[in-house]
């Protein structure tokens, strides 16, 4: 601001302090619980730290079953989403065809419905098809949730590719396929990888569709955590899982954010 750097930024300090309390406190608490063996009220610091609950959590067979199921589901959904959406994203970015704008908008329009209501409507269809409580039922419902992100971020990637390089390669006699492989794809790749990561992490933590469609047979990691909460099982189980799963996903998301850019997220939601 124009009034000089010497002035103390009280507004900023106030925001920083309040936000630290509001945003960071719950995360610090869950992080502390993961490494706590005994923490009785009203001590501010746990009476005993330790890793006992890590080995206890990791020796539960339901944890491993859910983890592998979640990874299998998430990998399937991400792969299918890429196969279905990436060619479409290329078409939206580079080709002209009738109805292009209205079709592209219709993907964004799927966000204009209250999500859980939509899930219930889909569940109504799946009930008739016998897809409730099946692996593929959950795959389909999670796949729908990935469509928008997996189309509009790669669209931006394909639009940003340097057209002159493509034209130069074409002039030098490269076939369209060759141009795509050697020029277009490598330039768009980082953003596409970021979209894949976002889809993977988002699907891994997708709770509502998995809970509604998957129950009771398909117990993904988040669904297992909800049952831990409902059954009031040892606090530390959930805390350990939170820390263990969240750290890798956080690193992936930070990478994705750097590539895609924070502002682009907001624009994608219509800001």
């Amino acid at each position: 601001m124009s009034l000089g750097a010497a002035r103390i930024d009280w507004t900023g300090i106030l925001f920083a302090a309040l936000l630290t309390l509001f945003i960071a406190l719950p995360l610090i608490v869950v992080g502390t619980w993961a490494f706590t063996e005994v923490w009785r009220y009203p001590s501010v610091i746990p009476q005993q730290f330790g890793l006992r609950f890590w080995s206890q959590t990791l020796s539960r067979s339901d944890v491993w079953e859910s983890l592998f199921l979640s990874l299998r589901l998430t990998a399937t959904v991400t792969l299918l989403s890429a196969v279905i959406c990436l060619p479409a994203a290329y078409a939206f970015a580079r080709l002209t065809f009738p109805g292009k704008n209205i079709l592209f908008l219709s993907f964004l329009a799927s966000h204009a419905f209250p999500k859980f209501g939509l899930l219930v409507a889909i569940a109504g269809i799946f009930l008739q098809l016998g897809l409730i409580s099946t692996f593929w039922g959950v795959v389909l419902i999670q796949l729908v949730g990935t469509l928008m992100l997996m189309i509009w971020i790669p669209v931006a990637a394909f639009q940003n590719v340097d057209r002159r390089m493509e034209e130069a390669a074409q002039d030098a006699g490269a076939t369209p396929l060759r141009v795509f492989w050697s020029i277009t794809l490598p330039q768009a790749a980082p953003t596409i990888v970021a979209a894949l990561l976002l889809t993977f992490v988002g699907t891994f933590y997708e709770t509502e569709g998995a809970w509604l469609i998957g129950a009771p047979e398909i117990r993904t990691m988040p669904v297992l955590m909800i049952t831990f909460i409902n059954n009031q099982i040892v606090v530390q189980y959930g805390a350990v899982l939170s820390v263990m799963l969240w750290v890798p996903s956080f690193i992936a998301l930070m990478f994705a954010r750097r590539v895609v850019g924070t502002g682009a997220f907001a624009r994608g939601f219509g800001a």
């Binding site: 601001m1 719950p26 009203p42 079709l103 993907f107 966000h111 209250p114 959930g238 800001a271």
Partner: protein, 279 residues
């Protein structure tokens, strides 16, 4: 050739969208109005809607949902707008820290947040511990009351609110604000006369997005909220899965669509307008 290739490439996701979004919505509306009778025939009947709007429990749940949406919307506005204003008009390390914190919840899945909040605001949780440590009395815990989901939903929706409002403020030229300041306008005057009139659209988009997300939220109200009354999300889930009553669950879903219709239309219209302008 170009046109048919394009249509071919987008065919698969478009079909998926029609089958898993458009068709279920239409099927839900039609299936709750033309109801299948025990003898297999379908007949026009609004009985499930009449039941919803005459059932005290359903209406309480709807009312709780509306209350939560309005309270969260207002809280998001009074926290998000000052933060966005601050971020727009200052630079340096402290604003970067503030922005980082405000955006941070985007990287925290709501199931992990639920877990963390139970230990933080729950009975004998960290808030109680800290109050006790400085000699203050315990507060009544918001966990399992309507305020539990409010806290969680504000936490969860803060990043997009701040980002969308900051993007909206980005359209206001700094020069016009400095000009007003030079002629002696107070900060409040600048806000009311220069910033607010140009923020109308982005405020409404932000509000629409928040309303759509909060109105049908499931995880946070399910974990942090009271068992009864419940918000529409947990209510629909319980009606569908636990009570095995798809007809009434679909009726509830169509009613949520109805309540969010205005915001949905506004949201789509403004995206379409932005895209027109962007080209």
């Amino acid at each position: 050739m170009n046109a048919s290739t394009g249509l071919l490439l987008v065919a698969l996701p478009v079909l998926l969208l029609s089958w898993l979004i458009v068709y279920p919505i239409i099927a839900a509306v039609i299936g709750t109005i033309f109801v299948r009778q025990p003898d297999g025939a379908t007949a026009f009947s609004l009985a499930s809607y009449r039941f919803f709007f005459s059932d005290a429990y359903s209406l309480t749940n709807l009312w709780l949902t509306l209350w939560t949406t309005v309270v969260c919307g207002l809280l998001l506005l009074v926290t998000g707008l000052p933060i966005a204003l601050y971020l727009r008009f200052s630079q340096g390390r402290l604003p970067a820290y503030v922005q980082g914190l405000a955006i941070f919840p985007m990287f925290v899945p709501s199931i992990i947040l639920s877990y963390a909040l139970i230990r933080t605001i729950g009975p004998n949780g960290t808030v109680d511990i800290l109050l006790n440590a400085v000699g203050l009395p315990k507060l009544p815990s918001p966990y399992l009351t309507p305020w539990g989901p409010v806290i969680g939903l504000v936490w969860d929706n803060l990043p997009l609110t701040v980002l969308m409002l900051t993007a909206g403020l980005g359209n206001i030229a700094k020069s016009s604000i400095e000009a007003a300041r030079d002629v002696g306008a107070s900060p409040l005057r600048v806000f009311v006369s220069i910033i607010m009139p140009r923020m109308g659209n982005s405020l409404l988009v932000t509000a629409s997005f928040a309303v759509l997300g909060i109105f049908s939220s499931f995880t946070l109200p399910y974990v942090l909220g009271p068992a009864s009354p419940e918000m529409m999300g947990p209510f629909m889930q319980r009606t569908f899965s636990d009570l095995n009553d798809p007809l009434n669950a679909l009726t509830q879903a169509v009613i949520t669509f109805g309540f969010c219709l205005f915001f949905g239309i506004f949201y789509v219209r403004s995206i379409a307008k932005n895209r027109e302008a962007g080209r």
